[in-house]
């Protein structure tokens, strides 16, 4: 038994070290984002604590030799693209998962070809798409060639999430509604959709964040109007400055607020469902 206890301690300490390994770079980045500017570089020691680089990101700092990050338009493009990708891939994910509720011939090959979209590395797909676009004679744009690849990438995630939801779905509720003479469309809206809503929300979150952060697929296919990650990548080539760290902190906070919105929506939907269920029960008794 002693062996188990010491093993537990070893693994516990190992896991703690692991979490430190995961978060270490962020902590360092967060600290360095408060470096003095514009002379302070992206390394220790901190010359003087300041919020200069945050002002720099928002374009509030006095002009200096360090060019401001090319955000603004790039951010709008990224958000638009992420939103469109989210809508299309979630709808397609729901449709495909709905089809998978009944066994059908060829389901294996369809399953794996959909999954292929999230597995094939972005560089390869981007390259293939550029070659295809050149061949057909289509211009490369973030809203065309890049957009379709974003959907190829996020649609499998939406599909898998919905598949998992439908696997645990009690079909008798739906059947009851149908046998009571409710139309299929109304059944989907009133019965099926509220049950699968948490899954839809997760699929949307996945699709949005993946697309917003997508980079290798967009690099070749995005054309000359850059999205946010491409703009960041552009600054890699030259010397880096703490303004990138400040931007990193801001974008991390943005992601967390997105995650928080998701959490709130999910809790609300579960609570409403519970209320409705108990309300229904009262009606019956």
């Amino acid at each position: 038994m002693d062996k188990v206890v010491s093993l537990r301690w070893f693994l516990g300490i190992f896991t703690a070290a692991f979490v430190l390994f995961l978060y270490g770079p962020f902590i360092v980045m967060g600290i360095l984002s408060f470096q003095q500017g514009p002379e302070g570089g992206p390394q220790f020691p901190i010359i003087e604590w300041s919020t200069y680089w945050y002002q720099h990101v928002f374009g509030l700092a006095p002009p200096s030799r360090i060019a401001p990050l090319p955000i603004g338009e790039a951010l709008i493009r990224s958000l638009t693209l992420a939103f469109a990708t989210m809508v299309v891939s979630t709808v397609m994910g729901v449709l495909t998962a709905q089809a998978f509720r009944r066994p059908f011939r060829g389901s294996g090959i369809v399953f794996y070809s959909v999954i292929l979209g999230m597995i094939v590395p972005g560089v390869l797909l981007g390259l293939g798409m550029v070659l295809l676009a050149n061949q057909v004679g289509i211009d490369r744009n973030w809203w065309s060639t890049a957009f379709v690849l974003h959907v190829v990438y996020t649609y499998p995630f939406a599909f898998l999430v919905m598949l998992a939801i439908f696997n645990r779905f009690d079909e008798s509720v739906e059947e009851a509604s149908l046998s009571l003479g409710v139309s299929p469309a109304k059944t989907f809206r009133k019965v099926t959709f509220p049950i699968i809503f948490p899954g839809v929300l997760s699929a949307m979150l996945f699709a949005f964040t993946l697309s917003y952060d997508e980079f290798p697929r967009t690099l070749f296919t995005g054309g000359s109007d850059v999205t946010m990650p491409i703009a960041i990548y552009g600054t890699f080539a030259v010397e880096i400055h703490p303004n990138l760290f400040a931007f990193g902190v801001i974008s991390t906070l943005f992601s967390f607020s997105l995650l928080a919105v998701y959490g709130i929506l999910l809790t609300l939907s579960i609570r409403r469902q519970n209320q409705r269920a108990s309300g229904l029960q009262e009606d019956i008794t």
């Binding site: 093993l7 896991t15 962020f26 220790f44």
Partner: protein, 282 residues
């Protein structure tokens, strides 16, 4: 009962999308790899010149070997680092809420921009970076370690940190699913901790390791950003080769590198899928 026609109607948007924007580009890539490449243009005349060029050039073939070496190192390290963590989360934490909280803690960094995560290693590993400063303060080293940044090592460290989560998740999931009474039974029958691990936990967690290995493989083999950001463009993977070739409009070479990458990846994934059926694990 819905008809078969209804099923295909529901499937059609997805299938059409995948055909046009996933299958067609990949076929196009294979096709273009056999085109004739000249300095300024590319012609659809079939030739294997680019292929011969790729395998006879030290730069390209060397990049292939380097890619395989780095991928394999990262894969082994993510298993060695990820497995104990997954074991701890899956077996030693009985409280479900705490278990979920720990897993979420591991996933949270995933919600930060990928490029920012890569970049965050720069002030960590540099000559005047956090690791060197801390080690010098404690007195473990006298002079800063210089091999930490802009080497193959920094690329491996960066990749392990970014992709290890994809190893921890599936393994922890499989270990968490193991029936506790199985382990209790074995212990009652006098099995040692090591035997329990070797005979019960390890085999039952194997599908998790395989799924994790597939995730890590496809992501590491398609990498180029980590390599260029953390090696100062000194370590060139096949992904970097593709980027440079596309940059100089050498489409056929880029396509050859792409097909080679696809073959390596597909071979590994196919072998792994023979061992475990992904669909049954969902």
């Amino acid at each position: 009962m819905r008809s078969n026609k209804g099923t295909w109607l529901l499937l059609s948007p997805g299938i059409i999308w995948i055909m046009l924007f996933l299958v067609a580009p990949l076929i196009m890539m294979i096709y273009v790899s056999f085109w004739t490449q000249t300095t300024f243009s590319i012609k659809p005349d079939m030739t294997v010149a680019s292929w011969v060029n790729f395998f006879s050039s030290d730069t390209y073939f060397g990049a292939l070997l380097r890619t395989v070496r780095i991928w394999f190192t990262v894969l082994v390290v993510t298993i060695l680092v990820g497995y104990p963590v997954a074991l701890y989360i899956g077996q030693f934490i009985k409280n479900k809420t705490l278990q979920t909280a720990l897993l979420v803690t591991c996933v949270i960094p995933f919600w930060t921009s990928f490029l920012i995560r890569v970049l965050a290693w720069r002030p960590m590993l540099g000559k005047e970076g956090a690791i060197n400063i801390v080690l010098q303060k404690i007195g473990i080293i006298d002079a800063p370690i210089e091999v930490l940044l802009f080497t193959e090592l920094s690329v491996i460290i960066g990749m392990v940190q970014i992709y290890v989560v994809f190893m921890v998740g599936p393994i922890a999931f499989m270990i968490g699913r193991i029936d506790g009474s199985l382990i209790e039974g074995a212990r009652d029958l006098g099995a040692s901790t090591w035997t329990i691990f070797r005979r019960i936990i390890l085999p039952l967690s194997m599908p998790g390791v395989i799924v994790g290995a597939i995730f890590v493989t496809v992501m590491v083999l398609g990498e180029f950003a980590t390599a260029s950001a953390l090696s100062g463009r000194k370590v060139n993977l096949l992904g970097n080769i593709i980027i440079t070739q596309v940059g100089s409009l050498k489409w056929a070479f880029a396509a050859v590198a792409g097909v080679v990458l696809t073959v390596v990846m597909a071979t590994f994934v196919a072998i792994m899928l023979r061992i475990v059926n992904l669909r049954n694990q969902l």
